[in-house]
């Protein structure tokens, strides 16, 4: 039976970046609507069951109300929805536990609502299960901006085997940060900041920035990876990373204005830019501080700690939505048997 997991954590995209800049706030009701649209795509492509992370933030309540209402109306077009049996803490830890359970229950893929931070915590716990990001977070460098209905279709086509694996899945790079025996990952960027405490997690005080490590950086990207995107762009596929030494603006003439968060374009002092090689260990340029992983401070370190940053390639899989839909178009996967004439016309290059 084809199963898919959906993680929609209501606590994502609620941090201080809504104060320091004008980062977006996707309402709970819209998050529930997004889940419903994903479900529609999954149902259409033959996914039979969806495991959903439980939460107490309101998404579940609206989802269940809608499913019940549409069942009564006879317009029900969703797979069977099952909530995981797990305690709800109302924190990012719920996403971790849900990813772990979904992996253990052999879902074909996990759809994640969120930005870089939420995607990161899910990938850290889901083993080799592919993920599909739905861009609803603060910084959305990792999840591509796309209508969730289409993401649902692509995920369904992939996990039901209608699209061959070589088209359905992409392999991705990631960064591993180690502080003594503790290891964490980042999907897009690791920023070393001079302040050795976590606080409200988000980073915005640029004078404290010391190093930036990225897996990729697009010129039109948002978040810290935009620094690389604007200096020496790097795509998701090339098996290398970038390291940029960052210095306080007052100490250098090399400055870059970069959109380090939605609505926050800051001058950043730029030092040396270098290529990161896979599996090579890199050290931060300061002896104490914190690591911000995909935009949020997560780990602190001091001069007594043994720390390193390493680029890993082919580290985890994502659903390649564009290739799934391209394959679907090419092979008529969404044309129905009752409409064989349409399929023949497409095959013959005639649609009218």
């Amino acid at each position: 039976m084809s199963k898919v997991g959906i993680i929609a954590n209501p606590v994502s995209a609620r941090d201080i970046r809504r104060i320091i800049s004008h980062a977006g706030n996707l309402p709970i009701n819209d998050r529930a609507n997004i889940v419903l649209r994903i479900l529609t795509g999954l149902y259409t492509t033959g996914v039979e069951e969806v495991l959903v992370m439980p939460e107490l933030g309101g998404i579940r309540a609206q989802l269940l109300r809608t499913i019940e209402r549409e069942s009564k109306m006879g317009t029900f077009r969703f797979p069977k929805v099952t909530y995981l049996d797990m305690p709800v803490t109302g924190t990012a830890e719920d996403s971790v536990e849900a990813a772990r359970q979904m992996h253990d229950q052999d879902v074909g893929a996990i759809v994640v609502l969120g930005g870089d931070g939420t995607s990161r915590v899910v990938v850290s716990a889901c083993g080799n299960t592919p993920v599909a990001g739905v861009s609803t977070g603060t910084n959305n460098a990792f999840p591509e901006l796309r209508e969730p209905t289409v993401t649902g279709l692509a995920v369904g086509l992939a996990v039901t085997g209608q699209v061959p694996s070589k088209y359905a899945f992409s392999f991705n790079k990631r960064l591993e940060v180690r502080v003594n025996d503790k290891r964490e990952i980042a999907l897009v960027d690791v920023c070393v900041v001079a302040e050795r405490y976590i606080g409200a997690r988000a980073i915005w005080k640029t004078d404290n920035f010391r190093d930036l490590f990225v897996t990729f950086g697009r010129p039109d990207g948002i978040g810290m990876s935009s620094v690389v995107g604007l200096l020496a762009p790097l795509d998701r596929e090339t098996p290398e990373g970038r390291r940029v030494q960052l210095v306080p603006v007052g100490e250098t003439e090399n400055r870059l204005s970069a959109p380090i968060a939605p609505g926050l374009i800051e001058d950043i002092g730029i030092g040396v830019v270098e290529t990161m090689k896979p599996n090579q260990l890199y050290q931060p340029s300061v002896s104490e501080g914190s690591f911000a992983l995909d935009g949020e401070r997560e780990l602190t370190f001091s001069e007594t700690d043994d720390v390193s940053i390493r680029l890993q390639i082919d580290a985890f899989r994502t659903i390649n939505v564009l290739d799934c839909m391209t394959y679907s178009a090419k092979h008529g996967l969404l044309t129905s048997k009752a409409n064989n004439r349409l399929a023949r016309l497409i095959k013959n290059g005639r649609t009218s």
Partner: protein
């Protein structure tokens, strides 16, 4: 190792002392109320200390706060005299309000504490008035109103958010979300479960922080309050937190999951979290913190002894202090 925190050692010690004082104050009330020593009713703030202290560390006496029925922690964090508070709760004439207010009406305007409040959501319009005064008088004072997830449904709160937004008032709306409106889960009782969404509905920024982490609250509140002083207008801050005791003293808490209180005390105690962070960072020592523990215990013991020994208000006191001049 250097101090990694945005507070010097003296302020860290002060923060711990404030949180510990609230904790011991409430733990003592839990015992004394259960023994029948205290008249009226008490709602305890234990478990929620990081919110009140993390916010109030940024305030001065000219900044105003409006509290809730669960107001002891806010009072202590705002600098109200602990012995006066204890006497007030004991209903004695030496109390903060001459023993005529009790737990739910402790106030001290000299400290900017406009009062605990027995009416849910009633602090929000009061603080809009205080913030309007600050705005018109041209000083940098801010107003902070606290309310719970239950009171967030009160019309007064929503109307106040609208007023604060259109007048760009220097107000911080703090939702202390401990998950229960009395005995009712927030999941059931709040149609738009995200309080941040409600702020957005008034064009007001809102964020959520881990209310068990003093440093998360401190940093977020600091940024919000700084901006409010500079004219950025109102903001909503949701602190997700834990209440160690029931809604009121005597609450059987049958609505909680088995072991929930034990788990909370073990893993989500904001004092333990604070203590671990500052000692692991090598900034404060166990000895220094233990000394504060001992001093706080003495303070609370003295507060109770003095409250018990103090006289009750007399019949002649009944008509005094009915009106207060600001």
């Amino acid at each position: 190792m250097s101090n990694p925190f945005p507070l010097d050692k003296g302020k860290l010690l002060h923060a711990y002392r404030q949180m510990k004082t609230i904790r011991e104050f409430e733990e003592r009330l839990h015992v004394d109320f259960g023994r029948g020593d205290i008249p009226g009713f008490v709602h305890l703030y234990a478990g929620e200390e990081a919110s009140g202290v993390g916010i109030m560390m940024h305030l001065e006496d000219h900044d105003r706060i409006a509290s809730t029925h669960r107001g002891h922690g806010h009072c202590i964090a705002k600098g109200v005299d602990v012995k006066g508070m204890m006497a007030e709760i004991y209903g004695k004439s030496t109390g903060s309000c001459a023993g005529k207010g009790g737990s739910m009406h402790i106030a001290d305007l000299s400290k900017g504490m406009m009062g605990a409040n027995g009416i849910l959501g009633a602090g929000a319009p009061l603080i809009c008035g205080a913030a309007l005064a600050a705005q018109k008088l041209g000083h940098d004072g801010v107003g902070i109103t606290f309310f719970g997830d239950g009171a967030s449904n009160q019309g007064t709160v929503l109307e106040s958010m609208n007023l604060a937004a259109i007048w760009n008032l220097p107000v911080l709306f703090v939702v202390e979300n401990n998950g229960y409106a009395e005995a009712t889960s927030v999941d059931y009782a709040v149609a738009s479960d995200s309080f941040v969404d409600r702020a957005a509905g008034f064009g007001m920024p809102g964020i959520t922080v881990d209310g068990t982490d003093f440093f998360a609250v401190y940093e977020a509140a600091g940024e919000i309050i700084k901006r409010a002083r500079e004219g950025a207008g109102p903001t909503l801050l949701e602190c997700k937190m834990i209440r160690f005791f029931g809604h009121f003293e005597g609450d059987a808490q049958t609505y909680r999951a088995p072991g929930e209180n034990t788990e909370n005390r073990k893993n989500r105690d904001c004092l333990k979290i604070f203590r671990t962070k500052v000692t692991e960072a090598g900034v404060l020592s166990e000895k220094e913190l233990n000394t504060i523990d001992d001093e706080v215990m003495i303070l609370i013991d003295e507060a109770v002894e003095e409250a018990q020994a103090a006289p009750l208000p007399t019949l002649e006191d009944l008509t005094k202090d009915v009106y207060v001049s600001y």
